[in-house]
Symmetry: C2
Subunit: 479 residues, 2 copies
């Protein structure tokens, strides 16, 4: 389809825009809303104009690995000693880690009010060209986004294929991300509901002025459609809208009619940025974590999303501590060489290589921050490492960059231009999990691969963040 | 609910916006699209924040009348002599009527290629306060809009009622407008399909740069979902995208892959503005009308949408010519005093009354134009009538204004403000019809009430055009 004419591209853009507008594939531009004006502008989220090729075998591999990754992160999050050993070096200079760790400790002090935890994860991969194998970019365990957008993008490509009679050299995938996520929250809800006779609801903790509601609301609507009340509560409204009973029951008071609900599941779609913990943020998080509500997920699982954790798990023997050998080897096969800059021998070796790369290898240095956009790439790496203060270096992770194939062609609407040329895609595999924490270890109650996301960016664009304008939601065309 | 606090209104606005954004209740702001920028802004269509009270008995009356109105307009459109007598006085100065009438004549000359006609109508009503009865505002027979928006607004109000726990003093209505319209087009399609062995499609003729795609696309998607191909064709692309066979078969060539379809149904969502008939417009319309495709609707039915027709049908004895007496009396009961300014005795009498209104009566003078926005109201009427050129006065209709109840309270988001206060609502009843024209009269193959639209504006705002910013889509709360 690389030979599309300009008027065909125009037709494609218009067909896709109309599908997106009528199917909620949009961003709500709350920050462009004029003061005092009760309307709100929005725009279609950036998407590929045609689906992008991806090896079918690697797609299947990625989905097959997800249960192992879920289990690995769940079990590791329960290993308090290991967790502490990884985080301790960061506590002196990483404010965010310090805050979260303090919440862990305060919660422990009061005793575990709710042993059951719910997790919605996403493991991101790119293809490594030399071996044509899957390599993990990162694992997200907190406030995972993109599931609803990805589902819409897949359905959009299927619609456009039929509407315009496009013949593809490959198989277009379907997606049921939203209902998978709804199922996992519903399962947690039912576990809680069994033990109470009060009216219960799922509470989705969200950021105010949120431009990404189209990735959150469908999950709420899905729960409501199943007869499970679900309400949104702004992060900064938590203390005024909820109360904590003496026994840890979290009560939510509906701001509209004042009706009270017992909260079954706290589903975090906020609280992932350090800025949210200034002011009242710490009290808010502690208030929620101390409650008897099932957290999706709890603060221990939240900590697992830090980049330092990915590097710590990659160290020799760690994965093998939490997974059966077969599963461990599959998981480990997706790891790129990676080390926290903690002064260890292995870390020094990788640092040396990055200072003077051989055989065309490229490196990236990642700070221990959420959300990307702070990474140091390629040529900038040696100078950065040279100047990096030894004191704070433990807050950074060095990773050999994944080198994706250069011959994949794509057609993208990035929102500010139509791009036709070589592209790089990132496959995210969604996982859901429900488990019971105990001193003897965790009991896993449910563990599933729950769908996928797929994003594509022009080759040469470093970061992949669709809502910030880098890259597009896309659908893999399996080859 | 008139005692909602400001923060509750804010909550309502946000809840509604998010529902609209995720359910395609939007306008596509194509004209605000920056040149060369492949994104497009959009915004939620204006809606009421709470449903507005409407008498349940009158709602039922309106739906019960629709089949009679369908039949009246269908039969009248087939009465060539009467149609000509009504239109003849306008031909000398109303360009649009002249153009459409010329197309009628040219099509007749070539012989009727397709006797079956499909109609999607909407009869609009307001409540007359003194008698608490339904009065017809107008009847729309061409390119009827609002069905999909109305359905979304109704579903939105149902969602919000549940999500926020709002208790209403009345019954919230449901709507299945879109599937009703899809059914009627599908029925026409099947009638055509029986007689051919070629691949057939419905062709939706649309305006380019259309901001109202969210009211059109769901009908297309609904047809496609039923396995009926449906394509959009811009009005000005008709001659390049379709060809007419010697036998009148209309062939549509798919601009994307060049596949050819025989057109079963031409569904007009364009061609209702005179400006569209400048340049190539006449040839476009003639091309479509001459074809063997079933028109939804044909040019004869199109003419019935002119305001002059409503006044002509209101004349003594006319309705009774086309309907059984019982049905005729129900229909006539909804007519306000109304006359074309054609110099007849009855017209002179009404003109006199409007020049010096007694008993608080108010009048409106309507030019014979589509789309509203050109009417002369109230105090402006006498001076306008005084100065109106006798030559062109036949192009105007004078109508006693409906006086709606003044005590209905509403809460609206008109897009530029939140309005709380007295409101006026307009109920539209959708009708669908399929019939066969013949010299002996028409044979009606299907005749249905197909749903409703409901719009509300602040009292004092004259015109009701939601997409132009006057009024809101709404849902009747039956009392």
């Amino acid at each position: 389809m690389a030979d599309l004419k300009d008027d065909q591209v125009d037709r494609l853009v218009s067909e896709i825009h109309d599908y997106q507008i009528t199917h909620g594939s949009l961003l709500k531009l709350v920050r462009l809303q004029e003061h005092g004006n009760p309307s709100v502008p929005c725009r279609p989220v950036s998407v590929s104009l045609l689906p992008t090729a991806f090896p079918g075998r690697l797609f299947d591999d990625a989905l097959a690995l997800q249960q192992s990754f879920n289990e690995l992160y769940v079990r590791a999050s329960n290993d308090h000693q290991w967790l502490e050993s990884v985080l301790r070096p960061l506590l002196q200079y990483d404010e965010f880690v310090r805050v979260l760790w303090k919440i862990v400790q305060d919660t422990r002090k009061r005793g575990q009010a709710q042993p059951i935890v719910c997790g919605i994860f996403r493991s991101d991969y790119m293809v490594q060209k030399d071996s044509m194998s899957l390599k993990q970019v990162e694992m997200n365990t907190f406030s995972v986004a993109g599931a609803c957008h990805a589902e819409r993008a897949a359905k959009m490509h299927r619609h456009v294929q039929n509407a315009l009679g496009i013949k593809h050299n490959g198989t277009l995938l379907e997606s049921n991300n939203t209902s998978s996520l709804v199922e996992s929250l519903a399962l947690a809800h039912e576990h809680y509901e069994q033990a109470t006779s009060h009216k219960v609801c799922v509470l989705m903790i969200v950021q105010g002025m949120n431009f990404n509601i189209a990735d959150e609301r469908p999950i709420e609507y899905g729960l409501v459609h199943k007869g499970i009340p679900c309400y949104r509560c702004d992060w900064y409204d938590v203390l005024s809208s909820t109360t904590l009973d003496r026994d840890g029951t979290l009560l939510f008071s509906h701001s509209f009619d004042g009706e009270h609900f017992e909260v079954s599941v706290v589903y975090y779609r906020a609280g992932y940025e350090y800025a949210e913990y200034e002011e009242d943020g710490i009290r808010i998080r502690l208030h929620l974590e101390q409650s008897r509500a099932i957290k999706c997920p709890d603060v221990l699982t939240h900590l697992m999303t830090l980049k330092i954790m990915q590097a710590a798990l990659a160290k020799q023997g760690v994965v093998e501590r939490y997974l059966p050998l077969d599963d461990a080897s599959g998981v480990r096969g997706t790891f790129m060489p990676m080390q926290p800059l903690d002064g260890s021998e292995a870390s020094q070796r990788l640092r040396q290589e990055a200072m003077a790369p051989t055989d065309g290898a490229r490196y990236v240095v990642k700070p221990n921050l959420e959300g990307g956009g702070h990474n140091i790439f390629d040529e900038a790496v040696p100078q950065f490492l040279e100047l990096l203060d030894r004191e704070v270096s433990g807050g950074y992770t060095i990773m050999r960059m994944i080198e994706p194939p250069q011959d994949i062609q794509g057609l993208l609407n990035t929102g500010d231009r139509i791009y036709r040329g070589p592209v790089v895609s990132e496959l995210g595999v969604l996982g859901t999990c429900l488990w019971r924490r105990g001193k003897e270890g965790v009991e896993i109650l449910s563990n599933k691969a729950a769908g996928w996301t797929f994003k594509t960016k022009p080759t040469g664009v470093q970061e992949m963040n669709v809502v910030k304008g880098n890259g597009c939601f896309d659908c893999p065309l399996l080859t």
